[in-house]
Protein backbone atom coordinates (compact mmCIF):
# COMPACT_ATOMS: atom_id res chain seq x y z
CA UNK A 1 0.00 0.00 0.00
CA UNK A 2 1.02 3.57 -0.53
CA UNK A 3 2.31 5.77 2.26
CA UNK A 4 3.48 9.35 2.38
CA UNK A 5 6.05 10.73 4.77
CA UNK A 6 6.87 14.26 5.76
CA UNK A 7 9.66 15.57 7.92
CA UNK A 8 10.27 17.19 10.13
CA UNK A 9 6.97 17.07 11.98
CA UNK A 10 7.58 20.41 13.65
CA UNK A 11 10.07 23.16 13.02
CA UNK A 12 10.85 26.50 14.64
CA UNK A 13 13.03 28.78 12.57
CA UNK A 14 14.08 32.42 12.89
CA UNK A 15 13.20 34.99 10.27
CA UNK A 16 15.76 35.06 7.48
CA UNK A 17 16.88 31.46 7.92
CA UNK A 18 16.63 28.86 5.14
CA UNK A 19 14.01 26.12 4.96
CA UNK A 20 13.88 22.61 3.59
CA UNK A 21 10.85 20.38 4.04
CA UNK A 22 10.85 16.92 2.56
CA UNK A 23 8.07 14.68 1.36
CA UNK A 24 8.45 11.12 0.10
CA UNK A 25 5.88 8.68 -1.21
CA UNK A 26 6.16 4.91 -1.10
CA UNK A 27 4.27 2.26 -3.00
CA UNK A 28 3.56 4.15 -6.20
CA UNK A 29 5.46 5.42 -9.21
CA UNK A 30 5.30 8.71 -11.09
CA UNK A 31 2.71 10.26 -8.78
CA UNK A 32 1.45 13.81 -9.07
CA UNK A 33 2.73 15.58 -5.97
CA UNK A 34 1.47 18.69 -4.21
CA UNK A 35 2.49 21.14 -1.51
CA UNK A 36 -0.23 22.96 0.42
CA UNK A 37 -0.03 25.51 3.20
CA UNK A 38 -2.65 25.89 5.87
CA UNK A 39 -2.46 29.11 7.86
CA UNK A 40 -4.03 29.25 11.31
CA UNK A 41 -7.82 29.24 11.06
CA UNK A 42 -7.80 29.14 7.28
CA UNK A 43 -8.26 26.64 4.52
CA UNK A 44 -5.63 25.01 2.38
CA UNK A 45 -3.74 26.93 -0.24
CA UNK A 46 -2.05 25.04 -3.05
CA UNK A 47 1.55 26.21 -3.36
CA UNK A 48 3.17 23.88 -5.90
CA UNK A 49 2.42 20.77 -7.85
CA UNK A 50 4.56 18.43 -9.88
CA UNK A 51 3.59 15.91 -12.56
CA UNK A 52 7.09 14.46 -12.92
CA UNK A 53 10.76 14.72 -12.05
CA UNK A 54 12.00 18.26 -12.47
CA UNK A 55 8.52 19.53 -13.41
CA UNK A 56 7.25 22.13 -10.96
CA UNK A 57 4.27 24.41 -11.30
CA UNK A 58 3.71 27.29 -8.93
CA UNK A 59 0.21 28.33 -8.00
CA UNK A 60 1.01 31.35 -5.88
CA UNK A 61 4.05 33.61 -6.22
CA UNK A 62 5.83 33.75 -2.91
CA UNK A 63 8.98 33.33 -0.93
CA UNK A 64 9.05 29.58 -1.43
CA UNK A 65 10.29 27.18 -4.09
CA UNK A 66 9.87 23.48 -4.76
CA UNK A 67 11.95 20.78 -6.36
CA UNK A 68 11.45 17.17 -7.35
CA UNK A 69 14.85 15.54 -7.60
CA UNK A 70 13.48 11.99 -7.63
CA UNK A 71 10.22 10.39 -8.73
CA UNK A 72 8.82 10.05 -5.23
CA UNK A 73 10.52 12.96 -3.50
CA UNK A 74 9.18 16.49 -3.28
CA UNK A 75 11.03 19.26 -1.45
CA UNK A 76 9.80 22.67 -0.33
CA UNK A 77 12.48 25.30 0.23
CA UNK A 78 13.11 28.88 1.08
CA UNK A 79 16.33 30.89 1.12
CA UNK A 80 15.04 33.37 3.71
CA UNK A 81 11.96 32.73 5.80
CA UNK A 82 9.42 35.43 6.54
CA UNK A 83 7.07 35.58 9.50
CA UNK A 84 4.20 35.04 7.07
CA UNK A 85 5.64 31.65 6.10
CA UNK A 86 4.44 30.20 9.40
CA UNK A 87 1.79 27.55 8.97
CA UNK A 88 1.03 23.90 8.54
CA UNK A 89 2.53 22.44 5.37
CA UNK A 90 0.96 19.42 3.80
CA UNK A 91 2.25 17.21 1.03
CA UNK A 92 -0.15 15.15 -1.05
CA UNK A 93 -0.21 12.76 -3.99
CA UNK A 94 -2.96 11.77 -6.37
CA UNK A 95 -4.41 8.48 -7.53
CA UNK A 96 -7.63 8.18 -9.53
CA UNK A 97 -8.45 11.83 -8.91
CA UNK A 98 -8.22 11.33 -5.15
CA UNK A 99 -5.61 13.19 -3.17
CA UNK A 100 -3.92 11.57 -0.20
CA UNK A 101 -2.22 13.73 2.38
CA UNK A 102 0.81 13.34 4.55
CA UNK A 103 0.85 14.08 8.28
CA UNK A 104 2.11 17.64 7.78
CA UNK A 105 4.89 19.85 9.10
CA UNK A 106 4.13 22.61 11.58
CA UNK A 107 6.45 25.55 10.81
CA UNK A 108 6.76 28.46 13.20
CA UNK A 109 8.87 31.38 12.09
CA UNK A 110 10.01 33.56 15.01
Amino acid sequence: SQTIHQWPATLVQPVGSPLSLECTVEGTSNPNLYWYRQAAGRGLQLLFYSVGIGQISSEVPQNLSASRPQDRQFILSSKKLLLSDSGFYLCAWTENYEQYFGPGTRLTVT
Binding site: N32, Y34, G43, L46, Y49, V51, E98, G102
Partner: protein, 115 residues
Protein backbone atom coordinates in the same frame (compact mmCIF):
# COMPACT_ATOMS: atom_id res chain seq x y z
CA UNK B 1 -13.32 31.27 -11.60
CA UNK B 2 -13.94 28.22 -9.50
CA UNK B 3 -14.74 28.69 -5.85
CA UNK B 4 -15.91 26.67 -2.91
CA UNK B 5 -17.88 28.19 -0.08
CA UNK B 6 -18.42 26.67 3.32
CA UNK B 7 -20.70 29.20 5.01
CA UNK B 8 -20.44 27.74 8.50
CA UNK B 9 -17.12 28.41 10.19
CA UNK B 10 -18.02 26.54 13.37
CA UNK B 11 -20.86 24.16 14.23
CA UNK B 12 -21.65 22.63 17.60
CA UNK B 13 -23.87 19.58 17.89
CA UNK B 14 -24.75 17.18 20.66
CA UNK B 15 -23.55 13.62 20.48
CA UNK B 16 -26.21 11.50 18.80
CA UNK B 17 -27.72 14.42 16.93
CA UNK B 18 -27.80 14.66 13.17
CA UNK B 19 -25.32 16.78 11.26
CA UNK B 20 -25.31 18.68 8.00
CA UNK B 21 -22.32 20.67 6.78
CA UNK B 22 -22.91 22.96 3.85
CA UNK B 23 -20.79 23.35 0.75
CA UNK B 24 -21.51 25.43 -2.34
CA UNK B 25 -19.36 25.57 -5.40
CA UNK B 26 -19.02 27.77 -8.40
CA UNK B 27 -17.95 26.01 -11.55
CA UNK B 28 -18.87 26.01 -15.22
CA UNK B 29 -19.57 22.29 -15.43
CA UNK B 30 -20.16 19.41 -13.08
CA UNK B 31 -16.99 19.25 -11.05
CA UNK B 32 -15.44 16.44 -9.12
CA UNK B 33 -16.32 17.11 -5.49
CA UNK B 34 -14.74 15.91 -2.29
CA UNK B 35 -15.12 16.07 1.47
CA UNK B 36 -12.07 15.74 3.69
CA UNK B 37 -11.73 15.60 7.47
CA UNK B 38 -8.79 16.87 9.48
CA UNK B 39 -8.20 16.04 13.13
CA UNK B 40 -6.12 18.59 15.08
CA UNK B 41 -2.49 18.61 14.00
CA UNK B 42 -3.06 15.88 11.44
CA UNK B 43 -3.22 15.57 7.67
CA UNK B 44 -6.46 15.33 5.74
CA UNK B 45 -8.43 12.14 5.22
CA UNK B 46 -10.82 11.64 2.33
CA UNK B 47 -14.38 11.02 3.52
CA UNK B 48 -16.13 10.70 0.18
CA UNK B 49 -16.18 11.93 -3.39
CA UNK B 50 -18.61 12.60 -6.21
CA UNK B 51 -17.63 12.22 -9.84
CA UNK B 52 -20.87 11.33 -11.61
CA UNK B 53 -23.93 9.09 -11.38
CA UNK B 54 -25.96 8.66 -8.20
CA UNK B 55 -26.11 12.04 -6.54
CA UNK B 56 -26.14 10.55 -3.04
CA UNK B 57 -22.71 9.21 -2.19
CA UNK B 58 -21.69 7.19 0.81
CA UNK B 59 -18.37 7.61 2.52
CA UNK B 60 -16.41 6.33 5.43
CA UNK B 61 -17.33 6.73 9.10
CA UNK B 62 -21.06 6.82 8.33
CA UNK B 63 -20.96 10.04 6.32
CA UNK B 64 -22.90 10.73 3.16
CA UNK B 65 -23.21 13.70 0.82
CA UNK B 66 -25.72 14.75 -1.77
CA UNK B 67 -24.87 16.56 -4.98
CA UNK B 68 -27.57 19.02 -6.05
CA UNK B 69 -26.77 20.55 -9.40
CA UNK B 70 -29.64 23.06 -9.22
CA UNK B 71 -28.29 24.46 -5.96
CA UNK B 72 -24.58 24.01 -6.76
CA UNK B 73 -24.28 22.27 -3.43
CA UNK B 74 -22.60 19.21 -2.02
CA UNK B 75 -23.66 19.02 1.61
CA UNK B 76 -22.23 16.49 4.02
CA UNK B 77 -24.52 14.64 6.40
CA UNK B 78 -24.41 12.15 9.22
CA UNK B 79 -27.53 10.85 10.99
CA UNK B 80 -25.93 10.44 14.41
CA UNK B 81 -22.74 12.21 15.42
CA UNK B 82 -20.14 10.58 17.62
CA UNK B 83 -17.72 12.45 19.87
CA UNK B 84 -14.87 11.23 17.65
CA UNK B 85 -16.32 13.20 14.73
CA UNK B 86 -15.09 16.44 16.27
CA UNK B 87 -12.67 17.79 13.67
CA UNK B 88 -12.36 20.24 10.80
CA UNK B 89 -14.18 19.41 7.59
CA UNK B 90 -13.18 20.65 4.16
CA UNK B 91 -15.10 20.60 0.92
CA UNK B 92 -13.02 20.65 -2.26
CA UNK B 93 -13.46 20.79 -6.02
CA UNK B 94 -11.09 19.49 -8.68
CA UNK B 95 -9.83 22.35 -10.81
CA UNK B 96 -9.23 20.07 -13.81
CA UNK B 97 -5.94 21.66 -14.67
CA UNK B 98 -4.18 19.86 -17.50
CA UNK B 99 -2.08 16.97 -16.32
CA UNK B 100 -2.84 17.44 -12.66
CA UNK B 101 -5.69 17.02 -10.24
CA UNK B 102 -5.46 20.28 -8.38
CA UNK B 103 -8.02 20.76 -5.66
CA UNK B 104 -9.54 24.03 -4.57
CA UNK B 105 -10.57 23.88 -0.92
CA UNK B 106 -13.17 25.72 1.05
CA UNK B 107 -12.11 27.43 4.26
CA UNK B 108 -13.42 24.60 6.38
CA UNK B 109 -16.04 24.02 9.06
CA UNK B 110 -14.96 23.18 12.57
CA UNK B 111 -17.24 20.68 14.27
CA UNK B 112 -17.53 20.54 18.04
CA UNK B 113 -19.44 17.65 19.60
CA UNK B 114 -20.81 18.08 23.10
CA UNK B 115 -21.76 15.12 25.29
Amino acid sequence: AQSVTQPDIHITVSEGASLELRCNYSYGATPYLFWYVQSPGQGLQLLLKYFSGDTLVQGIKGFEAEFKRSQSSFNLRKPSVHWSDAAEYFCAVDKFQTGANNLFFGTGTRLTVIP
